[in-house]
Amino acid sequence: MMANAASRSVLPGFGLTLGFTILYLSLIVLIPLAAVFVKTATLSPEQIWAQISAPRAVASYRLTFGTALLAAMVNAVFGLILAWILVRYSFPGKRLVDALVDLPFALPTAVAGIALAAIYAKNGWIGQFLEPLGIRIAFTPAGILVALIFIGLPFVVRTVQPVLQDLDAEFEEAAASLGATRWQSVTRVVLPAILPALTTGFALAFARAVGEYGSVIFIAGNMPLVSEITPLIIITKLEQYDYAGATAIAAVMLLISFALLLVINLLQAWSARRGRRDA
């Protein structure tokens, strides 16, 4: 390792590439992001508090984080099932299913939004059958949940799938030879091994759902206090030229995003450690 590190300096271009990387990163990402906090700092603490604790804002945090949490939980369950059948079972069309799992990454969020609205609206593909039952999905918080499940699903599948693939059959064979039932070997051998990956996938899906805008607004109904997500409040304030208000709420969201990023990095480190120990 040491000899390798020393010889690495033989390659030219360190100053150029690192310099350009830091310059581009600063211009595009860091300085503009700092603008949020600089702008917020021009407000007095009372003004900031008034903005971020307004009833409409508080209702939107509850809605945004509540639906994001619920969607991530649904995705953790069904993402695990999908990863399991993709790794462990063979069935016709498996390659196609495997490729299409990434659809929410590739499909523009606005397209997903109008498609989901067309499915779950009162007269929509599925909505028309739910309407007589008194169930409404579009233009209620349930619609937001559906959109967030859509965009979060691949995160869980794609973090759990490689770990399941790397998990050798030997572990379960050893458990079975020691007299474990299939249920015991799955819950005591397989689940603990994939738990870090599953938690990481859950956190990634949650973090993405918290900031999501495009797929949600078409199906949410966007009623203040009921179905208005936090990113929409920022947009509304911007459209009213209330830059200070928009920025204060954006600062709250950014701080939460950074905290989530930290948690995800710690989870991934845990996941990597677990992977090394098993190997």
Binding site: S7, V10, L86, Y89, R95, A106, P108, A115, P231, L238
Partner: protein, 299 residues
Amino acid sequence: MAGATSALSASQHFESRSATRDHGLVRALLLILGLGFFALFLVLPLVVVFAEALRKGWDTYWAALVEPDALSAIRLTLLAAAIAVPLNLVFGVSAAWAIAKYRFRGKALLTTLIDLPFSVSPVIAGLIYVLVFGAQGWFGPLLDGYDIRIIFAVPGIVLATIFVTFPFIARELIPLMEAQGSEEEEAALVLGASGWQTFWRVTLPNIKWGLLYGVILCNARAMGEFGAVSVVSGHIRGLTNTMPLHVEILYNEYQFAAAFAVASLLALLALFTLALKSVIEWRASPKSEPEARPKEPLP
């Protein structure tokens, strides 16, 4: 690991052994639950886009695509991607070279900072440029003096697109180049190649599949971005409307068939991206180490 063939044989291996074989009922239940969820949440929305687009026939479909506002939205989307993707490509290669080939302090922090745009809400990605270049922003009054407009104009759309697609290529190349090491480059230099020759003839051929993979994902997001672009666009028809914004306007005007027609183009782009992605994963898997091509989740 990314190859579907190896996954298929692995699943047969699991299903052939009693210790890893699930009970038939469990297997059936999980298949029904998993594939049912997949059909309801992923396949149905895709089908709906094309069905709604063609509901009023091919003539209406075609008319919605060749209408001047739609054409100018398509042009602007292509322009934004044509600027954002190459810039992020140069950045991605440069960042991966610095991070993968050298050791320095703060490397982990730099890698985290590069991923930062993925954890920022698209709406905030648009807001930050309004704060910097908007009428009330840091440089707004200065730029106004020179009659330069960034917000509610094309440069703002390009900037917002660059921000949201910033990490794609870098985060694809960093683990790949780290796994490959620097021995081949060192050998080229010892044999008398210049730095640029080493890059073009040794490094680039080694990373081409990872690079292409990053580029297509970056491009899909660049063409499909909605939230960030929506904040900086100002929604001026024919001037600052991208395809996703055009979809929104048509939809809000109850021109559903036209909205879904434009949306179907974006859905085709998504399907093309996924197909290309699968081909690259299949091409790259037999050559490179399994660890070098992890199926990582990409926001």
